[in-house]
Amino acid sequence: MLFNSIEFLIFFLVVTTLYYLLPHRLRWLMLLVASCIFYMFFIPVYILILAVTIIIDYFAGIWIERSEGVQRKFYLIASIISTCLVLFIFKYFNFFNANFEKLAHLLHWNYPIGALNLILPIGLSFHTFQSLSYVIEVYRRKQKAELHFGIYSLYVMFYPQLVAGPIERPQNLLHQFYEEHFFDYQRVTDGLKLMAWGMFKKVVIADRLALFVSTVYDKPTEYQGVSLILATVFFAFQIYCDFSGYSDIAIGSAQVMGFKLMDNFNRPYFSKSVAEFWKRWHISLSTWFKDYLYISLGGNRVPLPRWYANLFITFLVSGLWHGANWTYIVWGALHGTYLVLGIVTADLRKKTVALVGLDGFPTVHKYARIGITFLLVTFAWIFFRAKNIHDAAYIVTHLFSGIPEYVMSVVNGTYDPEKGKFFPILLGHPKLELVMAIAGIVFMEFVHSIQRHGSIRHMLRDKPGFIRWSIYFMVVYGIIFFGMFGKTQFIYFQF
């Protein structure tokens, strides 16, 4: 079930109430059953796939811990292969198969392998990585193997983070299932506030922005210039609000029950470099790739060319993780390129800043860096959102088409946003929706600017009651009255 649904609201209320009513020894069982029900709301039979991977990795963890040397490595590799095989079959087989088929046709070879007719199990990429994290940490002796099958299953299936993260490390999450959590007013209300904020970002901002983004990105060749730029910038905020909104709901709902999940976003569009962006965006995934791929490849403790290659490969794989499409691979490659170029040009940029005297204006310099980083990241989002490479190429090559004429028409006062000759910015949607979408972004960034000074939830505690309650009413009833409650899934569900 989707987080932005009445069904989830009822589910959450029932599960949380039961959690506090049940004795501690039964809570794990209730949560496991609830998580199974939550998962089976999508495609029930797919729980069998999850069960198989859980069983494999449960035993793999125990055998790894009890083994040494080659045998220990064997169990690790067997676990990784079997887990990744499931991921490959459901997510990547058809992609690679289609590309091999194209290559075979090019070479005039016969290619007999057909496509598989499989629906991607929800959250497969996420819980796969969470399982891999477990076996690797056991192998590295940083985590003891979990002997309680039920607790291990709950670690993989814990419903708040089952389908779209945060991807938890066993050291953070496993022990929490053994701890008894009592009702704590402050903790529970903080969790609910986080959930409300996440829901606000998703249904009020993200789903409203989606109207404009989908209009353009579904048929990009019907648009050019400002329309493409507007849709792309809107997508940058849509995906942030959608995904961070989901993460907030996940983290908040876990917090209500006393579980602490890792933060997944930290105001990423305030990053001053792409490297910093990846320390603030989808933190659980970027740290996963850093710890298990980048460092395993050697990280930066290798000769320079190898270091650059490690960075590039890590982001290439990260792109592929997001989806079986060349667009995601290009997106990942772009980010890899940004990071490598960032390192290569570090000295040059420093000298340039000094030359133009920008280092004397640290605030201007800071916001210039933030602006450039935002532009680079937003440009890459084109490939992430486009349906295919052709659409992405069209968008990239038409971003600035007709801009001078557009500017002239605005200056002359002949521009009509509804039927703009060059770039309809309303894109067929009511003006109010555009205003609300922009207002939502401005409001959210205002909140982010306050968050520089600390947690807003903590700050709110010190405020007078009428201010706190005004904000609570505004957020909750903003969700109810201005939320877009169509059946819009969270973007990262497709991964």
């Binding site: 009445i6 009592f182 009702f183 704590d184 007013y185 529970v188 209300t189 009511p430 109010l432 309650w469 609570y472 009413f473 909750v476 009833y477 109810i480 009255f481 201005f482 409650f485 059946k487």
Partner: protein, 338 residues
């Protein structure tokens, strides 16, 4: 800990008070008329401020009136079918009890569900008029919008999701503000135009027929004014005739075959009209051929594409609905070839 829980529940209660008040308002006011039964869902001659799910209205009106009127002649279709006057239709069929069994944005799925409903209720159809277009033929599954979703009485699905859609629609900010303002102040204001309607129409609850006399009077009073004020609505059409994409796939084919079987079984005197839409897109020849094969070319009448009916804007209220005089012309053509 218990006092913490009590404080928490108390504060949640305070937060929920406005929500409870609004929920009670929804139940008491029943803006979409889906919570209670009504003798008539519209007041003839007055504006129906809140747009209702016409499919729901049709079903409930049918069930409410059937015991008395025993309808045996039905007009099916989307909102375009509403302007086929029963009084005109009766000239061509034996004297019977007629009914408009229409829905807004009607789908092929919806027409099938109506036929299934009639079969289940053992209602014999002496005459049928089915008003179709490519948009109707395309939709082989239910529409999930609250105004277009088929009522549970037809789909036999749970009422929960049906009613939930209306509840969500009620809580839409734009709608709620306009609706409550109207209820409290009793005055219709221009800003409400986006969510509440201001034009009146005549309504006959026995045959479920709507007559847009408001617009007909405007046109009669000053045709030029009416159409001039809508010149941006009536977009310029291409000189070259275009065809709609083929829409009849496997699902649609099964549904059309079911309808044909029902009409055949009951020996119904029926006609199928392909609407003369403003877009002048001719129904795809492949789709038309399928309809001819299943129903017979003497039963299917295609008025789509470029022709006398679609050439003039005066045959339309706007680009979606053609006027009753066009419907009367069509009836003459399909029943008497005149």
């Amino acid at each position: 800990m218990k006092s913490q829980t009590k404080i928490f529940l108390f504060k949640v209660g305070i937060l929920a008070v406005p929500l409870m008040i609004l929920l009670m308002s929804y139940v008491c006011l029943d803006p979409f008329k889906v919570l209670r039964k009504y003798d008539s869902y519209y007041k003839s001659g007055e504006p129906a401020r809140v747009t209702l799910n016409q499919g729901y209205v049709s079903v409930e009106t049918f069930l409410h009136n059937y015991p008395r009127y025993k309808y045996d002649s039905i007009i099916f279709g989307n909102s375009r079918s509403r302007f086929y006057p029963v009084s005109e239709w009766k000239k061509y069929i034996a004297v019977t009890e007629c009914f408009h069994f229409d829905a807004s944005g009607e789908s092929l799925y919806g027409v099938v569900k109506k036929f299934e409903f009639l079969e289940k209720e053992n209602i014999r159809l002496k005459n049928a008029l089915i008003i179709m277009d490519s948009e109707l033929l395309l939709q082989a599954v239910d529409n999930e919008r609250y105004l277009n979703k088929q009522p549970p009485r037809l789909t036999l699905e749970s009422s929960y999701s049906f009613h939930l859609k209306f509840l969500k629609a009620f809580f839409n900010g734009k709608f709620l503000i306009s609706y409550l303002d109207l209820k409290i102040r009793g005055k219709y204001l221009p800003y409400m135009g986006e969510t509440l309607s201001d034009f009146s129409f005549l309504y006959d609850p026995v045959i479920n027929e709507v007559t847009f006399d408001f617009f007909e009077k405007m046109i009669e009073k000053n045709k030029d004014d009416y159409y001039l004020s809508r010149k941006d609505v009536f977009y310029v059409r291409d000189d070259v005739e275009k065809y709609s994409d083929p829409v009849i796939g496997e699902k649609q084919l099964k549904q059309i075959q079911y309808i044909a079987a029902q009409l055949e079984k009951q020996k119904t005197n029926y006609r199928i009209v392909i609407s003369p839409l403003y877009n002048q897109k001719k129904l795809n020849p492949k789709d038309l051929e399928i309809l001819y094969q299943i129903f017979g070319s003497d039963k299917v009448f295609d008025f789509s594409g470029k022709n006398e009916l679609t050439s003039t804007i005066y045959n339309y209220y706007e680009t979606s609905h053609y006027r009753p005089h066009v419907c009367k012309l069509i009836l003459g053509l399909i029943y008497r070839g005149k």
